[in-house]
């Protein structure tokens, strides 16, 4: 009895558990509606699509952990540019795969350096800096990718869509990445410095943490992850498009918040990101399965997201 109690307390006092509870609830509601049909496929699809939200979510989470005001709004534009650049350079050829990946990451690198440069040199809040830079990045992508419809190289398309017993290979890879990131956040000097800055920037500075260097690395990491997401997403969806990044602004922020990380920074967790990403995808699937029109679906998505945020804020206040 004591052990059950202990397990219960261990689990349900974790902020991230609610995202999983939500995901399972939504999944059950859907399969009850379909009378069990497609339950497995739905999970496979959820894993596949959640992967992309998780990649950008991790980056956004690191940035948000830095404390109030830290957020990256350039993620959608960054995804689009990375996807467009990679597709154009690789030109559907398998042997140019590495070049494409490198080009994507380089574009992410430049974006990250530029973002931080604006924040630092112009002394402006990150929201404005990343928003201004996203205007420029998106224009670059539009101009560079005019009339673009290039298929991804076969290897990339296969790699991003292949499944083992219903589990997408890509999802496995990103689960490993999530674990590595969790270790970085909770066990390395870099990760702990990010949390320290988020909890109290002044104290962190007085404690000798190189605050600006850590911030630079965090924004860079976020931009690199977004460009990786752009590269993989273009492979997954059969090519890059100019609005491919659009939905990832909400997704990247929502998975962090729904996943139980503190919006005010300083306290974050990685398991929640997966739970939240699965929840978000399954939610849309559920509304689709119920046969609702696009308008109703969007409205319900909005209401549920706001409701979840309201509830989770309440939850955190009471504990």
């Amino acid at each position: 009895m004591i052990t059950i109690n202990k397990v219960y307390r261990q689990l349900f006092t974790k902020a991230w558990i609610w995202a999983y509870v939500g995901a399972v609830a939504v999944w059950l509601a859907t399969i009850i509606f379909t009378q069990g049909q497609g339950a497995g496929q739905m999970l496979s699809a959820a894993l596949s699509f959640a992967t992309f939200s998780v990649i950008v979510g991790i980056g956004q989470m690191f940035v948000i952990t830095l404390g109030p005001g830290n957020i990256d709004l350039s993620i959608p534009a960054n995804i689009t540019l990375a996807g467009v650049v990679a597709m154009k350079l690789m030109d559907s050829q398998n042997d140019l795969l590495m070049l494409g990946l490198l080009a994507s990451l380089s574009s992410g690198f430049v974006v990250g350096v530029f973002n931080y440069g604006l924040i630092r040199v112009l002394k402006i809040p990150p929201i404005i800096a990343t928003m201004s830079s996203s205007f420029l990045i998106l224009s670059c992508a539009i101009s560079y990718g005019r009339g673009l419809k290039i298929k991804p190289p076969e290897i990339l398309a296969d790699f991003t869509t292949i499944q083992f017993f219903g589990i997408p290979l890509l999802a496995l890879g990103i689960i490993v990445l999530t674990i590595i990131m969790a270790i970085i956040l909770h066990r390395t000097v870099f990760g702990l410095s990010i949390c320290a800055i988020g909890q109290n920037p002044r104290a962190a500075k007085l404690a000798g943490i190189p605050v600006e260097l850590i911030r630079f690395c965090t924004y860079l990491l976020c931009a690199l992850l977004a460009s990786l997401c752009g590269f993989l997403l273009a492979g997954f969806s059969g090519g890059a498009s100019l609005n491919m990044g659009q939905e990832y602004l909400l997704a990247s922020i929502a998975v962090v918040v729904i996943g139980g990380s503190s919006v005010a920074g300083g306290f974050s967790n990685l398991p929640g990101i997966w739970g939240a990403a699965l929840f978000m995808f399954l939610l849309v699937t559920m509304l689709n399965t119920f046969g609702l029109s696009a308008g109703v679906r969007l409205m319900l998505t909005g209401i549920i997201i706001v409701a979840v945020i309201t509830l989770s804020a309440n939850n955190k206040m009471s504990t």
């Binding site: 005001g69 957020i71 604006l118 040199v121 112009l122 002394k123 402006i124 809040p125 929201i127 404005i128 928003m131 201004s132 830079s133 996203s134 205007f135 420029l136 998106l138 224009s139 670059c140 539009i142 101009s143 005019r146 602004l249 909400l250 922020i253 929502a254 918040v257 919006v263 029109s293 696009a294 308008g295 109703v296 679906r297 969007l298 409205m299 319900l300 998505t301 909005g302 209401i303 997201i305 706001v306 945020i309 309201t310 804020a313 309440n314 206040m317």
Partner: protein, 310 residues
């Protein structure tokens, strides 16, 4: 230099607008006319209203990532309900404003991050707009079209309207007693509260004002386009933030400027024409808006540095 950095900073929005306007006049002298100016600033009014809505939210240290979608809802209502059954249309618009007020209360009472809530709400608004108007169409009320295309003597209607709106809101927020309290909420909420003013009420007032400006933006927009579209104003979300910043607004601390915000919105409206006259592809329009934003912010950083070195 005898000009103080502070003065220079408050004139920056006007400088940037004049710079682009003069460049356009130079590139295409035919725009220096009643008709030309009217065309250049054709879409400035709805953008200016959206910018003022955003400014209200920024005043209390929040940010609204759903205003563009909200303007879309208003446009959809305006092109359908307001035209077919005016009474129902007006009630629907009032309900929209009430929803904004409620949003302000929710964000304050639960201490929610406005960015996430409004981003979530943007889905709600877009969905609502799609339900009202599933595909582009409808028709704006005739009276609305007549107002928006009203021909005033000497100076185009748009310019007069922008001027009047800017002065009114400036007076409201900068000179009236309650305006000072409202801005104080962004500056130092604790001291405003200790002085006996309700923070909840201030936030609700600002969100309500934002809702009103959102409605005005949507109505002005369909008065110009004559029909509605749910996606019509999604760009306005980021444009409005850019407009506030261009207009000299600070992101925190309730430091805002309504006149500046209107000038900022006008500057952003001009970028499209500016690029066209420079024969640069419209692909770069958003990029140019970002570029102007960065240049202005850089100038402001320089001014601030000059100020602090004094």
């Amino acid at each position: 230099m005898s000009i103080s950095p502070r003065l220079f900073r408050s004139f920056l929005p006007a400088f940037s607008l004049s710079f682009i306007l003069i460049a356009i006049f130079y590139l295409q002298p035919r725009t220096v006319s009643y008709f030309g100016v009217n065309l250049l600033f054709n879409l400035a009014l709805p953008i200016a209203f959206a910018t003022l809505a955003q400014m209200c939210i920024i005043t209390v240290n929040d940010l609204d990532l759903g205003i563009g979608a909200f303007v879309g809802v208003v446009a959809s209502i305006g092109a359908t309900l307001l035209n077919d059954t005016p009474l129902l249309g007006v009630l629907a618009l009032l309900a929209c404003i009430l929803a904004y007020a409620a949003l302000g209360a929710l964000i304050h009472l639960r201490q929610l991050p406005s960015i996430v809530v409004t981003l979530g709400m943007s889905f709600f608004w877009l969905g609502l707009a799609l339900m009202i108007l599933p595909r582009p169409g409808g028709s704006s009320p005739v009276w609305l079209r007549e107002i928006m295309t009203f021909k005033t003597p000497w100076v185009p209607f748009t310019i007069i309207a922008l001027f009047v709106v800017a002065i009114t809101v400036h007076w409201l927020l900068k000179s009236s007693a309650y305006g000072v309290i409202l801005r104080g909420v962004g500056g130092n909420p604790t001291s405003v509260e200790r002085a006996g003013w309700s923070l909840l009420k201030s936030k609700v007032v600002m969100y309500t004002l934002a809702g009103c400006f959102g409605v005005l933006s949507g109505l002005a927009l369909i008065g110009l386009t004559t029909s509605g579209d749910a996606n019509i104003a999604l760009r306005y979300t980021l444009l409005s933030i850019a407009g506030v910043i261009l207009g000299g607004g600070e992101f925190t601390g309730g430091r805002i400027s309504p006149i500046g915000a209107v000038l900022g919105a006008m500057t952003l409206t001009l970028t499209g024409s500016f690029l066209a006259f420079l024969k640069i592809s419209p692909d770069w329009q958003i990029g140019a808006q970002g570029g102007i934003l960065i240049i202005v912010l850089a100038l402001r950083a320089l001014i601030n540095r000059a100020e602090s070195s004094k």
